[in-house]
Amino acid sequence: MNQSEEEILRLLENVFDPEIPVLNIVEMGIVRSVNIVQNEYRIEITPTYSGCPAMHTIEKDILDLLNSHGIKNVKIKRIYSPAWTTDCFSESTKTKLKEYGIAPPVINIKEEFLKINRTCPFCDSDKTKTISEFGSTSCKSLHYCDDCRQPFEYFKCI
């Protein structure tokens, strides 16, 4: 094995979530572990939502990237526990989301249900309304800002 587990993890920072191309799969917490077992790189990944259709693309992107670095013996396993959660998003991840135009998740799902209005990622106004609780992907909802008159997406707490 030429590359260490740490080096593989660093490489995987070049695989981005196909739905949110400003976040890589390591900072999103989709990559759970990289282990070398019996001459094989075993990578565990976890879905954001159970039905996340991006998982197939992510698996393919991981294999393509590692193959292009001459790393062939890779096994990817999907795991479900512990469940993926937005509660672990770092401040820098949230800032990247906001700069990309997606309102980042609030502290947790309880807070989200209490505070009805999402904050507009463009002008920081709270004078917004919900257009749809389900958006273009499972992880987002749709909103409209009454101040800057822009529609925007919000990354739901899960």
Binding site: S50, P82, F134, I158
Partner: protein, 258 residues
Amino acid sequence: MTNILDKNIQNALFNYILGLGDDRLILGHRLSEWCGHAHILEEDIALGNIGLDLIGQASAYLSLAAEVENKNRTEDDLAYFRNEYEFKNFQLVEQPNIDFAYTIVRQFFFDVYEGIFLEELAKSKFEQMAGIAKKSIKENIYHTRHSRNWILRLGDGTEESHVKTQTAINDLWKFTGEIFSENENDNILINENFAPDLKPLKSKWNEIIKSVLNEATLEMPENIGFSSGSRSGIHTEHLGHLLAEMQIVARSFPGAKW
């Protein structure tokens, strides 16, 4: 873990997880039938998203079932190459969409059940199954909020929406008895702390349903003549048609990839 299980328990677990997968696969498929047909775009997206969550959960359960069975079958083999009598999903989830009221009532009955059930399944001693359950808990919170809000709007909406929703409730009620029934297979797992005991959960389900229907000015039907048998492969006439559509491509081109 699965290779040290007693044969009886292994078999019971396989059947049980298959049932969990089938419930979500069939309901997810029903919701997918709405794609492009809902009355507003937002609702089309909502039903599609909920269906996708359920099919994702089904995929996780069916992969696990295949692993427990240990006979070289895959989740796709289980989804596409079993016949009607081998499916174990609740009769409730195979009921046709008919109209938006039926779809929402069916979903609401299932979502409330799922919310109560998942909390218990997440405590299972069989960790892989508990993991999938835990993963689904927050997804279910969004699903339940969606179906509950619609029950309120439809029940307490126009006269037409009220009548349609009450009709759907009355028609689908007979399928809600078996979602809390237990068979011998379940009892083996309950004894091992692998599966939750459903009996104490039924009253909780009844309470929630009653309070929401009440708020929506809808009536709770009387408990007479519940239909049952789905976990042993007994289904209504609707499942066969659904499977024909769901399985046709996989069966026409076995092993096809795209």
